[in-house]
Amino acid sequence: MDHRNLGDNQAEADPMRPAFAHHSEAELARILSFYEVRWQYEPDTFPIGWSLDGAVIESFSPDFYLPDLDLYVELTTLKQTLVRKKNRKLRRLRELYPDVRIKLFYARDFRMLLIKFGRLGLLDELSGTTGQATPPREPAAAAIGASADGMAGADADVAAVAAEVAAEAHVAPDAGRAGRGRRRGRRRRSAARTAAVMRVDAASFAGPAPA
């Protein structure tokens, strides 16, 4: 599923609404839509690590892109180990793509936002394992839409990488933003192979859709 054209203030009404990997992402999408800030869900994937033969072995798909602000937003609402992992990925992204503007929204930021909006009742639902809700999708779509937020543990990390690699391979992210150069095609083909192998892992995390 290509999320690129989804979510522009149509999240609630659009039957093609992205399948968010986590309740917190769905809530942030609702907040953005409420304030008429256009958003796209995981539209781009940025390769951030390559093997010696040029294959993508690590990539990063920020949760949201806000086209009017030219800003990516990544939500972290899970445990500290994943926050550290995301921080590391973020540093790498900034090194490799200095022109890309990205904001990491920590659990604390999001919690304060919900407190401000009086959504206290959602706090327990939106953090930790109870906030996880990876909706059922076709295997390929699951790989594309999944993110580390909806998973836990080492398997989740593997699945997240698979998802990101799959996104790189299938979604064809904005060619002007990421992964340029002559090696791009080779990386893509390699990524597609990797994704094909790892897709089953990603799909295995599918669960009920968010309420």
Partner: protein
């Protein structure tokens, strides 16, 4: 509400005293007076949080000016959830076309409300549009909007008082304080 509001004890720390606020508001008033000399200044305040700031600031500006008030719905408000979009609850009472508008805010954190308001007000063709905020919490900024007049930059803490509320309470405090976290979990 499961717990009574205790104005004296619900505040963990006084971040800005009444005197600090007054001094800074006076400074802002002097600067705005100098910058807007000879212009058609209109102060637009956003209800409800910026009401005390607006009241104090306008009296520190030594210029002829107009004031107007707006109120917009906030995300999560039960009255607005059906629409799913921000709504103007109270619009400007007069045209601002050709006016030099200064939008007076109590606090800017994510910038989402401000971003909406700026776009809305620009559509009304003011001669200029600038932003004045008492409190700026840049750590939480999602939408970057240049702030022309800033009272205080504050840390990423939940503050109340001097117009700022939690669950519609604490607005009448004469200072800005940090609400004790345990209050969040006990007020509905």
């Amino acid at each position: 509400m499961s717990r009574p509001v205790d104005l004296a004890n619900d505040i963990g720390e006084v971040l800005l005293t009444e005197e600090q606020i007054a001094a800074r508001v006076a400074e802002l008033g002097r600067k705005i007076s100098a910058d807007y000399a000879g212009k058609n200044l209109t102060l637009v305040s956003v209800l409800k949080g910026s009401l005390p700031f607006m009241a104090d600031l306008m009296r520190q500006i030594a210029l002829p000016l107009r004031i107007d008030l707006m109120e917009v719905s906030s995300y999560g408000g039960t009255a607005t959830e059906s629409s799913g979009l921000v709504r103007i609850i109270k619009d400007l009472s007069a045209s601002i076309s050709g006016e030099d508008v200064l939008l007076v805010e109590d606090i800017i954190d994510t910038g989402l409300t401000l971003n909406y308001l700026v776009r809305y007000l620009r559509g009304k063709n003011p001669a200029s549009l600038k932003i004045c905020t008492l409190l700026d919490k840049p750590a939480r900024r999602l939408v970057e909007i240049p702030v022309d007049y800033q009272g205080f930059e504050i840390p990423d803490q939940f503050v109340v008082g001097y117009g700022l509320d939690y669950s519609e309470r604490y607005r009448n405090l004469r200072f800005v304080g940090v609400l004790r976290p345990e209050v969040y979990s006990s007020l509905g």
